[in-house]
Amino acid sequence: MTMNLSHFEAAFLFSLFTSVVMGIVTKSTDRERLQYGAYVFVCFMVALFGIGWAMQLGHG
């Protein structure tokens, strides 16, 4: 059994798992954890699309 993911799917999964852990270990209340986890995930997504478009435009 193998997984054949696209770049986006792999980066999305990576962002999701990492955000969960970052949210849990860095903050001290559940509300802060949820907010920080969501913030980290959004940052990953912005970087993913931003860098993706930068490469697309830079490639010509």
Binding site: A10, L13, F17, V21, V25
Partner: protein, 140 residues
């Protein structure tokens, strides 16, 4: 904030018996240290996230690093990667013992898989640091 950090740094080191079992269990079973300290919700979430990342890495046929010596970059990448893999605890041990460790293959998906495997270990290190802080009474 800086003052708060200074105060935390000044706190005495807790006895090894207070944190070592929880940290060791946290290494062996991702999220296990939190479960031992009765942080069930956080422990389950950490376990699911770290194990999920590791299993995805395996299913993408990511490679396990082996320590290698040679030039500085080769040593750094392979030894660092090996340490990252080992930090996944029982996930790494089972993968090695049961023969699921795969050779390095060319391809973007396999490359992602290798990074997933190492990152799962590094996330487990963060979880172990969190367990230490909870066991030492520095964090709830």
């Amino acid at each position: 904030m800086a003052k708060e950090n200074e105060e935390k740094a000044k706190q005495p080191m807790p006895s090894i018996g207070a944190w070592a079992p929880a940290v060791a269990l946290g290494w062996l079973i991702p999220g296990g240290g939190h479960l031992l300290l009765k942080r069930t919700g956080r422990g389950v979430l950490l376990g699911v996230a770290i194990t999920g990342m590791f299993v995805c890495g395996l299913l993408m046929r990511g490679a396990m690093f082996q320590p290698q010596s040679g030039d500085l970059l080769t040593t750094l990448i392979n030894t660092g990667g090996f340490i990252g893999d080992v930090c996944s605890g029982i996930l790494y041990l089972l993968t090695s013992w049961l023969g699921y460790a795969q050779p390095d293959l060319a391809g973007a998906v396999h490359d992602y898989g290798t990074k997933f495997l190492v990152t799962a270990g590094l996330l487990n290190v963060l979880a172990m640091v969190d367990v230490f802080e909870i066991a030492a009474g520095r964090k709830d």
